[in-house]
């Protein structure tokens, strides 16, 4: 009897040991308590959002402003301001949400606050109408038209902006800007003149563009459009008919549909394509039919003044140097 108990105990211990070793969950520290003072909350960004009211960044919003940080921004009119705009910007893999917190404006008197999904400059919009999922009138969201129903507007890409007009001194409004992760970014406006990026379109029938508003030297290191490597020689000169290709565009505006194509790439390769583009805006645009997972990787750096001068002198078509 005692022997049987002993062997049973041994078996039991062995079983428990095996279970713990195989599962290995004991190495994770699970903490389901949501408490303000808990250190864990600092490392969890979602909790930080809810509990960090006192940590939220606050500052006044200016009539012409650019914001790249999360926080609360309050505009107070010290005098009538009839044409104001604030640009918002996030990292390439993030989208922005704009929430109205306390709005004290006179809609009937002609005041407005309009959030635009993208950036508009000199009548040109980024992303262009061809690349954006929404029609143009849906990209403008006016607080006076939709105030109580739409307290929060979320952008489709890493840039957004707000236009506002305030007639009465003392009127004010507060916007809360938050950033959210976007796992498959499509249209991106680069924050800096230097960097690397990989754009992936996961079997979606859409066009995505990466816009760099600087003259840059760009290196396309690798791209694959899901074709076989031994693609048969094509009799047609361009890539447009293939349905999946990468375009390099350049020009002086932010609307990608109004830029001039510099080159098209549609045959997969793993080898660098190096180009120096002296335009104010350089765009890498990927057109995808949706049949394949398309991917392109590239790096870029700012052109210095000497390189710019060389390009200007050598360039026959000076479409980027018209002023």
């Amino acid at each position: 009897m005692r022997v049987m108990e002993r062997t049973f105990r041994e078996q039991l211990f062995f079983l428990v040991l095996c279970l713990f070793v195989l599962k290995g969950d004991s190495r994770y520290i699970e903490n389901n308590e949501i408490s303000k003072d808990d250190l864990y909350s600092f490392f969890n960004s979602e909790l930080k959002r809810e509990t960090a009211e006192e940590l939220m960044y606050r500052r006044p919003l200016r009539c012409l402003d650019m914001v790249a940080v999360e926080g609360q921004f309050t505009f107070t009119a010290e005098r009538p301001q009839l044409s104001c705009a604030a640009f918002f910007m996030a990292e390439p893999n993030e989208v922005l949400s704009v929430d109205y917190d306390s709005v004290d404006i006179d809609c009937r008197g002609g005041d407005f606050i309009t959030v635009f999904d993208g950036w508009v400059m000199k009548g040109e919009k980024f992303p262009s109408s061809q690349d954006h999922p929404l029609p143009l009138y849906e990209r403008y969201v006016d607080y006076c038209d939709s105030g109580s129903l739409r307290r929060s507007v979320r952008s489709s890409q890493n840039v957004a902006m707000v236009f506002f007009r305030i007639h009465n001194t003392g009127s004010s409004f507060t916007l809360t800007i938050r950033k959210h992760i976007n796992p498959f970014p499509c249209n991106v406006m680069s924050q800096s003149p230097e960097g690397t990026y990989t754009m992936v379109i996961p079997q979606q029938h859409r066009n995505c563009s990466f816009s760099i508003i600087y003259p840059v030297a760009i290196d396309i290191s690798e791209f694959s459009l899901g074709h076989y490597n031994n693609f048969p020689k094509r009799s047609m000169p361009g890539c447009v008919e293939t349905g999946d290709f990468v375009q390099l565009l350049g020009g002086n505006g932010i609307d990608t549909s109004k830029l001039l194509p510099i080159t098209d790439l549609c045959i997969s390769f793993t080898g660098p394509t190096h180009m120096k583009i002296g335009c104010d805006n350089t765009v890498v645009r990927m057109v995808s039919s949706g049949k394949f997972v398309s991917r392109v990787s590239f790096s870029y750096r700012l052109l210095d003044s000497q390189e710019l001068q060389t390009i200007k002198l050598n360039n026959v078509e000076d479409f980027c140097f018209n002023n």
């Binding site: 039991l12 279970l19 402003d65 650019m66 910007m89 508009v120 849906e138 979320r154 236009f163």
Partner: protein, 145 residues
């Protein structure tokens, strides 16, 4: 022989304790994917179409035609300002006319040079880095306590 069912019971208890807690959490959809707005605007859309089609005591036929074609062409998401079903249909027609007039205004834009835009981006990035440094300092202070 008594040990076998006891062993099975113990192993099942131990295995059940190891279920990941996330299995029970509900799936949270992002805000823009829920369809609540669509139903409301669909109802408003029907009210407007009825109002435009009636046309007895309302303004001229031309305006009604405009409203109808506007509604058919455009998405009903834009009609958020419209009154509820309880109010009169005339008011709905008037509101739609106002909306049509407003939507024909040129879209908002700003004239900025690239040079100014780049400077603004640079300043905003510096502000963002300063703020991140402040936050990091607060976190590290908290850890040090």
């Amino acid at each position: 022989m008594k040990s076998v069912p006891l062993l099975l019971l113990l192993s099942s208890v131990l295995l059940s304790l190891h279920l990941p807690p996330s299995a029970g959490r509900p799936l949270v959809l992002p805000g823009w994917l829920d369809g609540s707005d669509r139903l409301q605007t669909q109802r408003l859309n029907e009210v407007l179409l009825r109002a435009a089609a009636a046309g007895d005591s309302s303004p001229s036929d031309l305006l009604n035609d405009n409203i109808l074609s506007f509604l058919q062409r455009r998405n009903s998401d834009h009609l958020h300002l419209l009154p509820s079903e309880d109010e009169s249909e005339e008011e709905a027609v008037r509101a739609a006319a106002q909306l049509l007039k407003r939507s024909e205004e040129p879209p908002l834009s700003i004239d900025l040079t690239f040079h100014l835009l780049r400077n603004m981006i640079q300043m905003a990035k510096m502000e963002s880095q300063r703020e991140q440094a402040q936050l990091n300092r607060k976190v590290l202070d908290e850890i040090g306590k």
